[in-house]
């Protein structure tokens, strides 16, 4: 059992999300940075889809009522155990009664706390991920607060032997440097003028203060639409299209771009002009408010390659950790 003393500003239980329900308006939810989440799980001997605690900007303070094996990955939040700094991207032993204090993010925006056995909240529609809009999954469908108690599942055999394992430096991302995310331009990008399509990939965008699990609102130049007689059912504004499904990672343009993230609205009537590739969504999720980000246009083959390379990297990491 993990007892939460302080919940931070937006900490939720997440796994790799729920699938199969997008057509009834249910987004996947799940970890915003799947790479950091998965590595945290591997470091404690879990499968990649075990539930972790995702902490945004501010970490949690928590005590453990039993011995445990943990790992913290993702944004650097200077975690301390009983007041002493502990390593990140590293397997750490916790004794019963220990207090873990995860502080504020310096580099990156989101950190992941994995515990051997996984956070064992009940599954809702096949996932433990929290979706706060309708209040399902995770701990009571909401962000963590002081006094919450999170059950821990049964650890895999040998997880205690992993204590002291440190992820080789070549696998640790440097979030401060990652200011370019790759996109595949498309969807209803024909709605933009040629100049606006060009601007989308050349402008420097600033992450707004509202950027959250639903969407990353970006600030920068206005993007103009091709003039047309609006088709039947589309609505009157040039940015309106007949309501359609929004891919996860898609960039919709009410006026300035919003990249839809794991708790996305699943569809609507704004033109979508491209999609952040799956391998780079986690990097965008680590960009702090007021930091800049640029889009680089790639083709679908490069997007698939990047995803495949990430899967291979994760498989390598698993074998490095398991020895």
């Amino acid at each position: 059992m993990i007892e939460i003393r302080e919940g931070g500003i937006a900490s939720t239980v997440q796994d790799l999300g729920r699938t199969g329900h997008y057509h009834i308006g249910m987004p996947p939810s799940g970890a915003m940075d799947e790479y950091a989440h998965t590595v945290a799980n591997y470091l404690v001997g879990n499968d990649g889809d075990a539930a972790t605690v995702e902490m945004t900007y501010q970490g949690i303070t928590a005590t453990f009522d039993d011995d445990a094996v943990i790992a913290i990955t993702g944004a650097d939040m200077s975690p301390e155990l009983n007041g002493d700094p502990i390593g990140t991207w590293e397997t750490v032993a916790v004794d019963a009664g220990d207090e873990l204090d995860v502080q504020f993010a310096t580099d990156g925006a989101r950190a992941y706390l994995a515990v051997a056995g996984g956070v064992d909240v009940p599954e809702v529609m096949g996932s433990r991920s929290t979706y706060t809009l309708v209040g399902i999954g995770g701990h009571e469908g909401r962000g963590l607060e002081a006094g919450d108690e999170l059950p821990i599942g049964d650890p895999a055999n040998g997880s205690a032997d992993l204590v002291g394992t440190r992820l080789p430096a070549e696998y640790v991302p440097d979030y401060a440097d990652e200011d370019t995310v790759r996109i595949v331009v498309g969807l209803t990008s024909y709605r933009l003028t040629d100049e606006a399509r060009e601007t989308l990939c050349s402008a420097e965008w600033t992450v707004s203060a509202e950027a959250d699990r639903v969407g990353y609102r970006l600030e920068g130049p206005d993007l103009e639409f091709e003039e047309r007689d609006q088709p039947f059912g589309a609505g009157t504004d040039p940015s309106n299209v007949v309501d359609l499904g929004y891919p996860i990672g898609s960039i919709q343009v009410p006026q300035q771009p919003i990249v839809l993230m794991q708790d996305a609205v699943t569809g609507g009537g704004y033109a979508t002009v491209g999609t952040v590739i799956s391998a780079d969504r986690g990097l965008l999720a680590q960009r702090q408010t007021h930091k800049t980000v640029s889009f680089e246009s790639v083709d679908v083959e490069e997007a698939i390659d990047a995803r495949r390379r990430r899967s291979e990297r994760l498989a390598e990491i698993r074998s490095v950790i398991d020895g």
């Binding site: 088709p231 007949v242 999609t275 679908v300």
Partner: protein, 300 residues
């Protein structure tokens, strides 16, 4: 007019688009039409039946559809090739599907949406009338009653579910000449009561939960479209009741009936009135009003 048939629309070549590496988005038409929607419905139903390996989400929308895939299992180009094949083979005239005809009681001009719409008059096209008065006027009806007669006069098909869980977008099952059309609010409201029945563009919606919204507000239904605790009898399999392809028949009720039904919903005993029906696009196009009458008879 009563015998007007619906002419199938000649659709352009579909636009096949990549949503990065893990989505395929197919726009069947830029404009809304039954032809485009039925095609989206038919193709996504066939994708589901074929159980294509690597397809993880299958989402019909108003005039388009979207599939989410695992590109390490199926390459988007291979999927697109299969979708083109399905598209070429599809004969909507022959296609039929099983759906549900669902009774949706609505208290129009209810006190809750009225309070909300009055609060946001400054974000509306017409600050001096209600949403219904405005909608009636711009659609050429001389009274709110006459407009509502048209609104409930034919059922509405769920052409898409989304935005938030359980929100149905519905297109009224009448020829284009009888379609109602209204703009959305000039600036979206920051509040909408849960279970509000709204209308925007050519689509009616039911708001599952309280929140922001931009559709014209007409009334409120006492029944739920989303039940996250799955405690109501019709929500055993899913926390969302309406599905793409369902047909909603809005029914005007008075405050007394509203309260009665609401009491049953809150007691956890309310059961939807619905019947399974076979839907034939061809028969519907041939004689929409007659077809609708036959359809809605099953729940009357």
């Amino acid at each position: 007019m009563a015998n007007e048939r619906i002419k199938p629309v000649d659709l352009p070549e579909p636009r096949y688009e990549y949503g990065a590496d893990d989505h395929v988005f197919v726009e069947l038409a830029e404009a809304m039409s039954f032809t485009a929607n039925f095609k989206a419905m038919a193709i996504t139903q066939q994708v589901a039946e074929r159980d294509i390996e690597g397809v993880v989400e299958n989402c019909p929308a108003n005039a388009s559809y979207m599939l989410r895939i695992d590109p390490e299992v199926i390459h988007p180009d291979d999927l697109i090739a299969e979708l083109r094949e399905l598209e070429a083979e599809l004969d909507l005239e022959e296609y039929e599907w099983e759906t549900r005809l669902i009774d949706v009681p609505v208290l129009f001009q209810d006190p809750w949406t009225h309070e909300t719409l009055m609060e946001f008059r400054d974000r509306h096209q017409d600050a001096d009338s209600t949403d219904l008065e405005y909608s009636a006027r711009i659609n050429g009806y001389d009274s709110v009653e006459a407009f509502l007669d048209a609104f409930v006069g034919a059922p509405h098909m769920v052409t898409m579910v989304g935005f938030v869980p359980g929100l149905p977008w519905c297109f009224q099952m009448v020829p284009r000449s009888e379609q109602l059309e209204v703009p959305k609010y000039v600036e979206p409201r920051t509040d909408t009561p849960s279970r509000a029945v709204g209308f925007g563009g050519a689509f009616s919606v039911i708001y599952p939960v309280q929140g922001a919204g931009g559709y014209q507000l007409y009334g409120r239904t006492p029944i739920e479209v989303l039940d996250v605790d799955q405690s109501l009898p019709d929500f055993g399999d899913s926390m969302v009741f309406p599905n793409p392809g369902d047909i909603l028949n809005y029914r005007r009720i008075d405050r007394e009936t509203y309260d009665e039904i609401r009491e049953q919903v809150e007691a956890g005993t309310y059961e939807y009135t619905y019947e399974r029906v076979r839907f034939s696009p061809e028969e519907f196009f041939e004689s929409p009003h007659e077809y609708n009458e036959r359809l809605t008879e099953v729940i009357e």
